[in-house]
């Protein structure tokens, strides 16, 4: 069993920032206007920003996952996923598809997806293999939908998966908590953003001979 510091070591890890986009986070995005409580998502973003700043300072890979929907991938089955098929989100070219409060730097890959899991029919696995990543640090929104789908799928593709709950948010606290419990039991490790940052700092200190 790997220690937390091994699981988040910058040279072998990639942070997967899932769907931190206006339609999922902003009160006047599609989810908010559809009646979802986006408070947890907005509250999480400053913690996420701090986490990403620390990740960049320690050289940890960051990959942004962005949901974009358009007719080419709107199968009948997919459009029927919600009770009101007219409710669209993350349409190509809209404000709703843009990132909320975070911005990829030029060298940070953006992986476009069109299903819950960021691994389904996307280039994510190729990007991870190119980086020689062994560990995924998964966070974003919504905890129990796209984050959980991605973390489960990543685990089944043989990555170590660390879930960071305080940088995740759902529209329902019980759903968020259940994802954390299930992940801890069957899919990997759960850690706070503070613990991960402390681990990076300690590793860095050791490496610097401090």
């Amino acid at each position: 069993m790997l220690s937390l510091s091994e699981l988040v070591v910058p040279s072998k890890s990639a942070i997967i920032v899932v769907d931190v986009q206006n339609d999922f986070c902003e009160p006047d995005g599609a989810a908010g206007k559809g009646g979802k409580d986006t408070a947890a998502a907005m509250a999480m973003i400053p913690r996420l920003q701090r986490f990403l700043d620390a990740a960049r300072a320690h050289g940890t890979n960051i990959i942004f996952v962005q949901t974009i929907h358009e007719p080419a991938t709107d199968s009948d089955v997919w459009v029927g996923r919600r009770a009101n098929p007219e409710a669209r989100n993350c349409l190509k070219g809209t404000w709703g598809a843009e990132f909320t409060g975070v911005t990829p730097q030029a060298h940070e890959p953006v992986v476009i997806k069109h299903r819950y899991s960021a691994f389904v029919n996307t280039r994510l696995d190729s990007v991870l293999r190119t980086l020689k990543v062994e560990n995924l640090i998964v966070l974003g929104v919504a905890t129990n939908v796209c984050v959980e789908s991605t973390s489960r799928h990543g685990y089944m593709l043989d990555y170590n998966v660390v879930l960071v709950p305080d940088c995740c948010a759902a529209y329902d606290q019980a759903a968020h908590d259940m994802t954390v419990l299930v992940h801890k039991k069957y899919f990997g490790t759960v850690a706070s953003s503070e613990a991960v940052i402390a681990s990076w700092a300690a590793t860095h200190a050791v490496a610097s001979g401090v």
Binding site: P71, A72, S126
Partner: protein
């Protein structure tokens, strides 16, 4: 003929146009400049154009695969492909990635890929399921590399495969014929563009559009 017509029913078949791009087809594209014989690729394109026009008239859908390479997916094993000769092919933002002589219409999806098979870590399967595709009509370049890889993968994902021999091209006749042999014996049906066009003409009630 009856079997072919059933396979390529416009409501169930999708034409996959694989990598008909400057770096793979034109003599002054990256592969051509590296010494690959591109004559067969250029010679095939008018037949492909005729097939696409006939397809559009029947309402058969067309999906375009476009290879685009960039650092994010250039893993070590991938960079060394083709005896280390493919480093500058289809780089993002270059003339080399543009389609050669044929081009997608606005309503024809383009699927970007970065490995030989159009199914590996791309959105292709989602696009095909959205179209309720049952048969893939394979065309493009090169016959035994990206077209064959995509056809094999598509067959293993339970699509019927119809491989259009005179709408594909490789960099040697042996490679081209070798791919056709595999397709014919283990992966599906091989037919000419005229055979498909004749089948549509005989079975499709009225042209669309």
């Amino acid at each position: 003929m009856a079997d072919l017509a059933r396979l390529i029913d416009p409501s169930k078949a999708v034409i996959i146009v694989v990598d008909v791009q400057n770096d793979f087809c034109r003599p002054d594209g990256a592969l051509g400049k590296a010494g690959a014989p591109t004559a067969d690729a250029m010679a095939m394109i008018p037949t492909l154009a005729r097939l696409l026009d006939a397809a559009r008239a029947t309402g058969t859908k067309i999906v375009w695969l476009q290879t685009i390479h960039e650092d994010a997916t250039d893993s070590d094993p991938w960079r060394g492909r083709s005896l280390n000769k493919s480093a500058d092919i289809c780089r993002k933002g270059t003339w080399g990635i543009e389609f050669t002589d044929v081009a997608p219409r606005d309503d024809e999806p383009v699927v970007i890929k970065h490995r030989y098979s159009g199914f590996v870590n791309t959105r292709l399967d989602s696009v095909l399921r959205t179209l309720k595709a049952e048969t893939l009509i394979m065309t493009g370049v090169s016959t035994n590399v990206c077209v064959e890889s995509t056809a094999r993968h598509g067959f293993m994902l339970d699509y019927h495969v119809v491989f259009v021999d005179d709408c594909c091209a490789a960099y040697s006749r042996e490679e081209h014929e070798g791919a056709l042999y595999n397709m014919r014996t283990h992966f599906g049906t091989v037919a000419s563009a005229d055979a498909l066009i004749d089948a549509w003409r005989a079975t499709v009630p009225a042209p669309v559009g």
